[in-house]
Symmetry: C2
Subunit: 199 residues, 2 copies
């Protein structure tokens, strides 16, 4: 698939068919993830791939608990009608996270001080590569971080060490809908480009 | 360009030709950046594009100061020979950041509490899209966060408001070398994939 086509049609997919994802496809999306840059090319990343139905269900329950205890005021107080649409779709996913055929948890080693904002520069580019590669294989994904509200419990469940942070929870599967991929809703580039100075 | 070709040949480029970058190319890479996901699709991002030579030089001096005051022990104590290679190249860039034809500062609005690790999930995927789109246009980039050591001064210089964080400093230009793009050095995917449980 053409790069720009993948970039311009990579929608957030939150409704999946129950069909299993071939192991080869999982390996391929992670093989794209690890081509991304990381600070000093240290590649302190790991990707936990959860397919076991019991574990998926357990992670899904923790995700739902995190969703339920989260602050949703940013959704309910936003006058933008698209926000309500995103909220409804995110709630749908929160109730069915464990049913996604594959859950991927991208992780990054951080040392004792834990992850900072710029730690993200060493893992989220890899997550974006993963999602673009998935798109090119017809697989839907969405990057979620709501799981952070139950990160401790999820790390215990999976056996993730203390000095490793989870960066996201990415469900992956074939989209339930035929029009899951397509142009994304965004502000125009001209609204967010500043030349030489802010504003 | 094919998606997988872009992903698999997007090397960090730190040596640039002085040739200017067409405005159209700059707009195109940012138009790819903004197709990336962001939390709740809020798109709280901005991209400051610095081409003015005086400003580039000033940002370059601040970057060099941040580099000089940074902790380089992780480079000098790492037995991996690739680390020395990355360090040498990063030092070259630190001394010439201001000479890159374009400096891009991807920013994200954060509110008063400042950015957290997961704030990165709403800006670094966009940076990765930007770098992949640049690759497809023959433009080299590298994601750097060393500037954070002088972020306050850089924000003052550019007029970036307090509630907005800089996520990276991305120099962009045509690579000085003909073999700047190509396969990247990475651990094998099999080393970083865990199935169902850590380890």
């Amino acid at each position: 698939m053409d790069l720009l086509e993948a970039i311009h049609t990579q929608r957030a997919v939150r409704r999946f068919k129950p069909d299993p994802v071939p192991q080869d496809a999982i390996t391929r999306v992670i093989d794209s993830a690890i081509r991304a840059p990381s600070g000093g090319n240290r590649q302190h990343w790991s990707f936990v791939v959860i397919q076991n139905p019991t574990l998926r269900s357990q992670v899904g329950q923790l995700y739902k608990a995190a969703w339920d205890s989260g602050d949703i005021s940013r959704f309910t107080h936003d006058p933008n009608p698209n926000t309500a649409r995103v909220y409804k779709s995110a709630q749908y996913l929160a109730e069915r996270m464990g049913e996604a055929p594959v859950l991927i948890i991208p992780c990054v080693e951080t040392g004792k001080q834990g992850p900072s904002f710029t730690t993200g520069a060493s893992i989220y580019p890899a997550v974006q590569n993963l999602m673009l590669a998935a798109r090119s294989l017809g697989l839907g994904t969405v990057i979620t971080t709501i799981h952070m509200g139950r990160e401790k419990e999820i790390k215990e469940l999976i056996g993730i060490p203390e000095n490793v942070a989870t960066a996201a929870l990415v469900p992956m599967g074939y989209p339930a809908s035929d029009d899951a991929f397509g142009p994304v809703r965004r502000k125009a580039a001209s609204e967010v480009i500043y030349i030489d100075r802010w504003g």
